[in-house]
Symmetry: C2
Subunit: 198 residues, 2 copies
C-alpha cells in the first residue's frame, strides 16, 4: 500500500480524467501546484467557479458566452446574413483566429451519429433553421469525417427548399504541406475543387 494523502489523490484523479493528461503527468502537475503560493490554488479554484457561474449558451448562435446575445451576435460590424455552421464552440475560436470571416456563427454542439444515438433533436438543427429568415448564405464548416459528411448532406437537403445559398469549406492540401505526403482522398478532393488561376 502506497501512502499518499487523500487531497493529493483526489486532485491527481481529476487531472488524469482530462483529455491528453495521463496519470504520471497528473501527478507531476499536482506536485507542481503544491510548490506554488496558496493564492495560486485559489486562482484555480475560482476560475472553475467562474466557468460554472458565468458561461452560458448564446441564445442566437449557441456559442459559449458571458453576455446574451454573445459579443459576435450583438456586434454591429458582423454580417448576420452569412451564418457559418460549426460542430463545437472551439471551432468558432479557430475560425475567429484567421481574422478572415466577418459573418456570424451557429454552433450545433455535435454532429449526427446514428451509431451513438445522436439524432436531429440532440443537436441545434431546429434552432439553425429558425434563424434562416433573412440569411443569404450558410457555410457548413463541419469536420470532413464520415459523420460530418452525413450531417452536411442532411443539412443541405433541409436548407435547400429555403432558397439559401449553401457552401462548405474547401478540402485540399494544407498550406505548407507537400503533394507527396498528402493522402489520396485529400489529393483527389483538391484536384476536384481546383480553381482557375489569373
Amino acid at each position: 500500500m502506497v501512502y499518499t494523502s487523500e487531497s493529493i489523490e483526489k486532485m491527481v484523479d481529476l487531472f488524469a480524467s482530462l483529455p491528453t493528461i495521463g496519470r504520471k503527468t497528473a501527478q507531476r502537475i499536482t506536485y507542481h501546484l503544491l510548490r506554488q503560493q496558496p493564492e495560486q490554488l485559489d486562482k484555480f479554484s475560482s476560475a472553475f467557479q467562474g466557468l460554472k457561474m458565468n458561461i452560458k449558451y448564446c441564445s442566437v448562435c449557441f456559442n459559449y458566452t458571458e453576455t446574451d446575445p454573445c459579443p459576435i451576435c450583438s456586434s454591429q460590424r458582423r454580417d448576420t446574413s452569412i451564418i457559418c455552421v460549426v460542430e463545437e464552440p472551439n471551432d468558432v475560436l479557430a475560425i475567429e483566429k484567421t481574422n478572415e470571416f466577418r459573418g456570424s456563427y451557429h454552433v450545433l454542439h455535435g454532429i449526427l451519429n446514428p451509431l451513438e444515438g445522436i439524432g436531429i433533436e440532440d443537436i441545434k438543427i431546429r434552432e439553425l433553421i429558425s434563424r434562416l429568415t433573412e440569411v443569404k448564405e450558410v457555410i457548413l464548416a463541419i469536420n470532413p469525417s464520415v459523420e460530418g459528411e452525413v450531417t452536411i448532406q442532411y443539412l443541405a437537403r433541409l436548407i435547400k427548399p429555403l432558397e439559401v445559398k449553401i457552401t462548405r469549406i474547401a478540402r485540399g492540401i494544407p498550406v505548407g504541406a507537400s503533394l507527396e505526403f498528402t493522402d489520396e482522398a485529400t489529393l483527389s478532393r483538391a484536384i476536384e475543387s481546383r480553381i482557375e488561376v489569373g
Copy 2:
C-alpha cells in the same frame, strides 16, 4: 481581435501555466470541461481548496501530509533507524511504489545550487542533521545531476563525523535497457559498481 469570454480565457491561461500543458492543450481541456456537468467543475474547485487547506509538511520528514506526523513517520511498521533522503515529495511516491523500502524518509525540498542561489539554509539540511541521533543509515536517493552530486558530497561530509553509515542509490543500467544504447558515463558507473554473482 478574437472574441472569447474572460472566464474561458482565465481558465486557459491557468492551465497553460502548468508543466507539460501548452496553450492549445489548455484550450482543449477548458472546452472539454465546459461540456461536463457543472458538478464536475465544483469537484475541481473544491479539490484545489482541499490541496490548499489540508496539505502541510510533516514536521519530521517534511513530506506533504494531512496528518502530522505523516502516516509513514507515525507507522509502527517502518524502521526509523534508516532514513532515505530525497529532493522532492514526488520522489517519496516513486520509492514507495517499489514496495521495497521499509525505512523512513527525509525530503530536502530542493538541492544545493549556488548558481541559482540555493544554499544550505534554503533546503531541509539542518532538520535532517537534527534527526540523526538514533539513526544507523542514511541513504542518499538524490538525482545524479551536477547539483545532485554537490549535494551528495556536502551531506556526506556533514554526516560522516556523526558515525552514521552513508549510502547512495546505485547508478547503473536501467532494467530492460541494453548496453548498446546506454551512455558512457552510466556504463562506466555500472562497471565501477559491479557486484559479485553467486
